[in-house]
Chain length 785, copies 2
């Protein structure tokens, strides 16, 4: 099978020239876009910014995918791993017409081309990387490594879609990328779309050779076929031969993909197919200058960014540059007005089939909202606060189970988790859903099947990357992780937040479902796993993201968790962190109170306070389940031992309410803030995370210095649960001491009580060493009046 | 070649029984350690914590490596990827005698065994995971994924050493682990030691099957041989057959390793060897209970943690447990005193050859300090502050070059970098050192060779993991990364900091060289790469680590960078972040002033201040190179336009000086703090990172609310350098406005000047859009009097 239409290949070569021409133009030119005049220094931009090296490869693939789409009416989106090749993607979406539709100022003529050039990587213009403003993109590629996980996420539950994923050979060295090849073991040809990886071996990264660039075809074949791929090599530096081979190979790959799918869709899933993958070996900076100043450029790392510099000031460089640019023969590509000549324009797919216009790459346009059950159906019947123990996340598990059921027909919801669904007490989902695997299943396996939608892989990177791809193509999901190990993919949370920060500025990008991250197995209750598992750091990371997209919730019990989860699953364009432990814990609020509390974001818990009719001596604030437990137990102890001390308890479920309202849309107005925290009374604050983060948040609030925060102070090991809070100075007794110290009005009464608290702490230490368990009075404490 | 000594294998089997017995004992028993009495509920611990499933595999390997060491006098250390198998490693270092030497209370007799059991995972005892207190470990394994990168780091420049690295099949799904197999492409048999990966396919992770556990031998063979390994399978559930096969295979692997090394050391490096790797398929929880309550346990995920629970209260479980424990026949393993019987004790290696005692696993004991040149030799001759532009990191590159040269004989220094050494302006190292690669080198490559010690791989995970392994085995290094992408391996920085936090508490762990991380290509000067490359978040992450180990330096210029780098390279047991950009930048301090400044950590820059003889109206503080530039330029502008305003400039190079001294050893005492910042004058603070982090740090300082911080506010794109500071409100003009607003004394004078600043900002916007470059008055600004 050899691709036979030579005439078409010749035209495609010209189209590729046009793309390359526009790429170079974006990097270099500010005037004279079509070289109608002799090139002058002032036509050149003063600062030359952009990445040429990867661009001809990206365009080559684009042009060939266009053909595939046209010939088969294929539904394809394009993910550019080497996202630094921004100008190539811009060139292609411009040539196919999408760009002008979305950005009407960039007209399909000489004026438009000049604007296209000038805006690139300049102030007020567009970024140098494939990015949110680039039509057709769901992947920015600035931070290399996620193209394959995003691609698979996009393909899940999109049976008709093919996701072409270009992987740079440098990018292929990153851990997240290497960890994503195995996604094939989770892709089901019966119900999912396909990913076509195109590993682009241009031999170099920024300045060194690449591992795979130097590997033999044989090694690469082994590696990828070990992951289950059927590997096709396309190699060369003669354009027409490469066009021929690539076209032939793409036809072959397309046929294979469709035949696997047809087979599975006709006869049911039987086995994991050998999905095709393409290895493309072409020179870096192909068609660029061969040599500059006697040094080879094309085919070397030196073409990575700007292959010939100082063009304005160095006439020899100017000559090289002009020859390069003219080698594409713009006069043959664009007509007198500067529009792409019709026989080339005809090569682009039409309408939504254009990769820049494919609705899957603007997921919000095809988003169906989740059909959510009433979260109150899963509420725990809390008759009296703080009397019964329940695993809060288990209630969420039940709700997730029913979300799976209600949305089964839409198949637009998945749960992603590094093998901890059961451990995190979300196991009720297995009543209706399975873990997904297309590898052989055996009898002792627990709820594993090729059509499961619980995506368990021991990789936070893969879980999060899949989910991001799934969300950006218009679906919904939840990533549940041990709190500490959510830091493993923290940089992905950052990059996704950045994506959203940009996307909400663009009216044509429609809102997508939020990235919901459930952090459980938290620092306070990882007493059995020890220090490595104790780290609430993702809160600090997300605090730095913009208020427009970043949300942090610390529900103190099951009913609040349900309310928060309901809110998050309905929301759009946010990164929602939800932090709560999985162990049995006291429940505080009945469903009505929980809804009210979560709607406000924080509230004063009157039942736990004793400051009716007076200003309190001290405000005891808490955010997080364990801090709430310790705070309430402290308030209870104080009420019993020193009723003269007027204590107000404030519970914070939405951390962002504490931010000054200028900084975050959830920030309480000052009057409400003062209503809860008073204007100047001391606040003893028990916080789930690193305590000093609270100072970062409340700065700017009246008398912010009066916030005295206890939290996770990086003290941990394997010990008892209560010892964890003692080690970090956040135990009920330490909170009592702090409250009594800060409340000056009752100072005369506190000395013996402080001594008593210290005694209990001493007793605690020796008790746990003797009994390996916590003091019964602590373990079995409940609220009594 | 078949391992022939059946008698020895039979003894090894008993030794393995002893290790398994001690493992189970640690998880379950608090009394009756050798089952001399009938088992009673009160002998059982009240909380059963620990991971059984992985342990028999870990011990099996340990026992067999012991034999290899004995027979060949081999120099081997053991890295347990599934670090949750803590009790197995403890059992083995106890059996070989190392544990009692380091912890004399845990005697080699019944009393010692009982203490060993009781301390495990209990308050005041030892962690449940392989961890810092575990002799012989350089790898904690709590956060899965780094065992191979640590192993290769340990093997680099350790020609005699073999690093056995056990990889869990769940762990093998993590991205960092998958990204580390390719480390073979950087391992030189001539000068480096060897890594022997042992991929332990026990089929399951916590509750699901593993990808590789379900893959065929053929796929695994392809995968690993694609990475260059020579794969050996050992599979089975009949212990004696597995003993036989594993012994035979280990002999074979050992012979291959030594022959590759001998070949390369005799004839020079010629090609990358096919390093052996072992794939071990044995049941999860092997030798544990087969069934509990009719449900299969051994060989399933159900044996992951505690395979039979409620032993105290459920008599049937008690029976299962007792049978299990007695199946190891403790009476045949330990003598009347509870000491290991002599014929088993004889199986352990002796002295430093015991894996728990190998000095490489306690790197500080064999650390040779670096021979550092005088850093002042690389100083820039700064005659007058703020008049000349230099690339600061280039001076560091020269110093690194000479560090390579001076320590060439010790070969104990490497530079790790994701392919950015040149880009980061550290390229002078290539005058004396090469990039490392054992793949084919071709003529257009730039300084690539199999004996290079510049480790460039496009993986922050691999760079950092290698460096950590290198450091923990007693060597030195630097990890240089684009600032934003240091977040990719942030969780590794956290875990390494945790390791150090624990290690400094143990006198027997000797100090190792600090983990030095150079963050360059910073947010402020990634105007050309755009938003994805703009993220100073690692500062926030490291601020939460303990003051005992965490350091953050923001040198404002080359001479300060040299002084800081010198200090960091001499230091021990810290994580040092050094943050500075690579672009040409104004230089402030001559070498004497730089030394003085860096020694203090912060100082008032008198030359830039105009508050002689009076208290200033406003303190203008800055931390970081670009914030310093903007602050000094602001001070200059204010002095020119409103000399009545008394401004003091304070520059912070050591961020930790701002912490209250109780919180960090570098924290300035209050008097010194007030000397610089006054007691109550407004402070306009320009900060390199997210501004609110400063509030987290200065909380507790006198009138901390008067700190008004500008910094990176998550505003970015591709634009001009100055526009980046304008977008984030940190430009000189915005700092001037803020200073004038805050300085109440001169209020009458400021209105027209504030208007002027705003005018310039407006002019700036239109200028850069028209000219694509910054205003000349900004770009060319220097300090004048
Ligand atoms: C995680 C990460 N680390 C480092 C970089 C810096 N960087 C940008 S491009 C590049 C080289 C990419 O090489 P390759 O993937 O081969 O792309 P191509 O050769 O096609 O340009 C590097 C290291 C990055 N963008 N992301
Ligand atoms: C990065 C990370 N994510 C999640 C976990 C939680 N976890 C602990 S053990 C484990 C399963 C490990 O499976 P495997 O590597 O196969 O070890 P083994 O079967 O030998 O116990 C998981 C997911 C972790 N420790 N680290
Ligand atoms: Mg490349
Ligand atoms: Mg396993």
């Amino acid at each position: 099978m050899v691709y036979a239409d030579q005439g078409r290949l010749a035209l495609m070569h010209k189209y590729w020239n046009a793309a390359n021409y526009l790429t170079v133009g974006q990097i270099y030119l500010q005037h004279n876009p079509l070289l109608k005049e002799p090139l002058q220094p002032e036509h050149i931009k003063p600062r030359l910014l952009g990445h040429w090296g990867t661009s001809p490869g990206l365009s080559l693939i684009y042009v060939h995918l266009n053909r595939l789409i046209q010939e088969y009416d294929a539904n394809i989106i394009y993910l550019a791993g080497p996202g630094h090749g921004g100008p190539a993607l811009l060139a292609n979406v411009y040539l196919e017409g999408t760009y002008s539709e979305i950005y009407p100022k960039i007209t399909p003529d000489a004026v438009g081309i000049q604007r296209l050039f000038r805006q690139f990587s300049t102030p007020g213009g567009v970024p140098s990387h494939v990015s949110v403003p680039t039509p057709g993109s769901i992947h920015e590629g600035g931070e290399l490594g996620y193209v394959l996980s995003h691609a698979f996420g996009a393909a899940f539950d999109n049976p008709d879609l093919i996701v072409a994923a270009v992987v740079g050979d440098g990018e292929a060295e990153t851990a997240p990328l290497e960890g994503a090849w195995k996604s094939t073991q989770f892709l089901n040809p019966q119900r999912d779309g396909a990913v076509l990886p195109i590993l682009h071996l241009n031999g170099y990264k920024i300045s060194g050779p690449t591992v795979l660039g130097r590997s033999s075809d044989e090694s690469i074949e082994k590696l990828l076929s070990g992951h289950g791929y059927d590997v096709h090599f396309v190699e060369g530096d003669d354009p027409m031969q490469v066009h021929q081979d690539l076209a032939t190979t793409l036809d072959l790959c397309y046929a294979k993909i469709r035949s696997y799918q047809e087979e599975a869709r006709t006869h049911g899933f039987t086995r994991q197919p050998e999905w095709p993958a393409i290895v493309l070996r072409t020179p870096k900076g192909w068609t660029g200058p061969k040599e500059v100043d006697g040094i080879p450029i094309e085919g070397t790392f030196r073409s990575h960014q700007v292959p010939v510099a100082s063009v304005r000031s160095n006439p020899e460089h100017m000559r090289i540059f002009e020859n390069w640019l003219r080698s594409y023969h713009p006069e043959e590509l664009f007509d007198a007005e500067g529009s792409l000549v019709p026989e080339l324009a005809a090569l682009a797919p039409k309408g939504d089939r254009r990769m820049g216009a494919n609705p899957h790459a603007n997921g919000g346009t095809i988003l169906t909202e989740l059909d959510l059950p009433a979260f109150t159906d899963y509420a725990i019947d809390v008759q009296k606060p703080a009397t019964e123990l329940h695993e809060s996340t288990r209630q969420l598990g039940k709700m997730l189970r029913d979300i799976f059921t209600r949305n089964a027909a839409e198949h637009n919801f998945r749960l992603f988790c590094p093998d901890e669904t059961n451990s995190n007490r979300l196991g009720n989902v297995f009543e209706v859903e399975n873990r997904c695997s297309v590898e052989p299943v055996i009898s002792i396996d627990d709820h594993v099947s090729p059509d499961g939608r619980v995506m368990e892989v021991l990789s936070e990177h893969l879980c999060q990357g899949w989910l991001e791809g799934y969300l950006l193509t218009g679906r919904h999901g939840l990533f549940a992780s041990y709190e500490a190990f959510a830091m493993v993919s923290a940089s992905m949370s950052i990059q996704h937040a950045k994506w959203l920060e940009e996307s909400i500025k663009l009216p044509w990008r429609k809102p997508v479902a939020s990235l919901n991250i459930l952090l459980t197995s938290t620092c306070w209750r990882n007493d059995h796993n020890g220090f490595s598992h104790q780290g609430p750091g993702l809160i600090d990371t997300m605090l730095s993201k913009k208020g427009t997209v970043s949300r942090i919730y610390l529900p103190p019990d099951a009913n609040c968790l349900l309310s928060v989860a309901d809110h998050c699953l309905r929301s759009h364009d946010y990164v929602n962190l939800i932090v709560i432990d999985k162990q049995p814990q006291l429940q505080w609020l009945n469903k009505e109170d929980a809804i009210d509390h979560c709607t406000r974001g924080l509230s004063t818990w009157q039942w736990a306070s004793n400051d009716e009719f007076v200003e309190p001596d001290v405000v005891m604030a808490c955010a997080g389940d364990i801090p709430t437990l310790e705070t309430i137990a402290a308030a209870w102890w104080l009420r019993k031992h020193i009723p003269e001390l007027k204590v107000r308890v404030v519970n914070v479920v939405d951390l962002m309410t504490l931010y000054p309202s200028l900084l975050h849309p959830h920030g309480l107005d000052e009057a409400t803030f003062i209503n809860h925290f008073t204007h100047d009374k001391p606040v003893v604050f028990a916080f789930h995370g690193y305590p000093r983060a609270i100072h970062e948040v409340v700065h700017g609030r009246p008398n912010a210095e009066r916030f005295h925060v206890r939290g996770f102070n990086e003290e941990g090991t394997t010990t008892t649960p209560f010892d964890m809070v003692v080690l970090n100075g956040m135990s009920r007794y330490q909170l009592c001491i702090e409250a009594m110290r800060r409340a000056t009005r009752v100072r005369g009464l506190t000395a013996p009580l402080i001594a008593e608290c210290n005694d209990i702490l001493t007793r605690h230490k020796s008790y746990i060493q003797a009994n390996l368990e916590d003091l019964p009075e602590v373990r079995d404490w409940t609220w009594t009046n």
